[in-house]
């Protein structure tokens, strides 16, 4: 499961929908196995669009869960007149490495509201609930 996906997954439990703690899920850094994968080539425009879209606070939180505290506190702002500077490109490359190339192959994460634990196996996150919670 690629890092970027953590920006889209919340707890499946319906009763948690009213809570602000059901997103992002809390990733267990000790139990998560990370892998770097370069299948997807760097594309500055794609990354610019992703940066526009992501919830930066959630990125920071999950990165910290996984032991990465090196991200800027505020969402990076790119050059405004359309042309990307060398600095912008460096930022986008770093994000590419984190969001697109970094995967959690095995691991687990937990809802901060209800505590339910979800697992990632063979790179596929399982957000199905057992019958008594569904």
């Amino acid at each position: 499961m690629k890092f970027l996906t953590t920006n889209f997954l919340k707890c499946s439990v319906k009763a948690c929908d009213g809570s602000n703690d059901n997103f992002p899920l809390q990733y267990d850094g000790e139990k998560c196995t990370l892998q770097q994968n370069n299948d997807i080539e760097f594309n500055a425009e794609f990354l610019t669009n992703i940066l526009d879209r992501v919830d930066w606070d959630a990125i920071l939180t999950v990165a910290a869960d996984l032991g990465n505290n090196s991200l800027p506190r505020e969402k990076p702002v790119l050059g405004t007149n359309g042309d990307l500077t060398e600095d912008d490109l460096a930022v986008l490359r770093d994000l590419h490495t984190l969001l697109i190339c970094t995967s959690i192959v095995e691991g687990q994460m937990q809802c901060k509201n209800c505590g339910h634990i979800y697992y990632i196996k063979n790179g596929i996150p399982n957000l199905l609930l057992p019958p008594h919670l569904a």
Binding site: K2, L4, L9, I40, N43, F46, R53, N126, L127, L128
Partner: protein, 236 residues
């Protein structure tokens, strides 16, 4: 059949992805899958202009073999180089098959994630721009329960087919989630068969919930009439 072909079914221009899966566990691409491909091909321009300016989050519910998601990835639907794809299925077999089909068709260079989940319950609200759903639409006494393990293969296949009363039990649940899961500008393409009474469903979604609902394609397939409807919010 391990080679999927749409040629006999229409005059499609875009090629069908190559699919080779275990059809004891995943739903083999059929007329309904091909209708969705043709529908998306027809809608390619509309979707391209609707989503040209930003990242698009695409989500296929119940991708099965992954033929539809792969088709979108191959052909840059809705946008090329600006879309990320999620295949969300209840069945672990379908998720494996989807990943495999994406790989076989050399689409690994595009962002795609498979997530095991019941419909959209794990998706952050308001994020999906393009949702595609070929639901279990066959009328049946009830919707099968999720098997306890991956062992009982045919029961997973039943889940892909049987849609309870009027074949609408699963689709109806998704329709109730639509307003939550779609982004402001989001659109959903949902496949129906005639026994689902899609016109009544469309009318209800228009009147009770204020959705814009349009029949975009329909076709006779054997003794069945299949159709795809497009759901979006009224112009903002």
């Amino acid at each position: 059949m391990d080679r999927v072909d749409r040629i006999e079914l229409g005059s499609s221009m875009l090629p069908t992805p190559y699919v080779n899966c275990d059809y004891e566990t995943v739903y083999e691409p059929c007329e309904d899958s091909f209708l969705l491909l043709d529908c998306l091909e027809d809608q390619q321009e509309y979707l391209g202009s609707r989503f040209q300016d930003a990242l698009s989050v695409v989500c296929e519910l119940g991708p099965g073999t992954g033929v539809v998601t792969t088709f979108m990835m191959q052909n840059g639907i809705p946008t090329s180089g600006k879309s990320v794809y999620f295949g969300v299925d209840i069945s672990p077999w379908a998720l494996e098959a989807t990943r495999d089909t994406v790989r076989r068709n050399k689409c690994d260079g595009i962002f795609m994630e498979t997530v095991q989940c019941d419909l959209t319950s794990c998706l952050k609200p308001g994020e999906v721009d393009l949702l595609v759903f070929n639901p279990p639409y066959v009328p049946a006494e009830n919707v099968p329960e999720i098997p306890d393990d991956a062992v009982d293969r045919s029961r997973w296949l039943d889940l892909a087919l049987l849609g309870g009363e009027n074949g609408m039990a699963v689709t109806e649940r998704l329709l109730q989630q639509l307003d939550t899961v779609l982004s402001r500008n989001g659109v959903a393409y949902i496949l129906f068969c005639a026994r689902n009474h899609p016109e009544e469903v469309a009318e209800r979604m228009r009147n009770e919930y204020g959705w814009e609902v349009e029949l975009v394609i329909h076709r006779k397939a054997g003794w069945e009439v299949l159709s795809v409807y497009r759901f979006s919010r009224k112009i903002m």
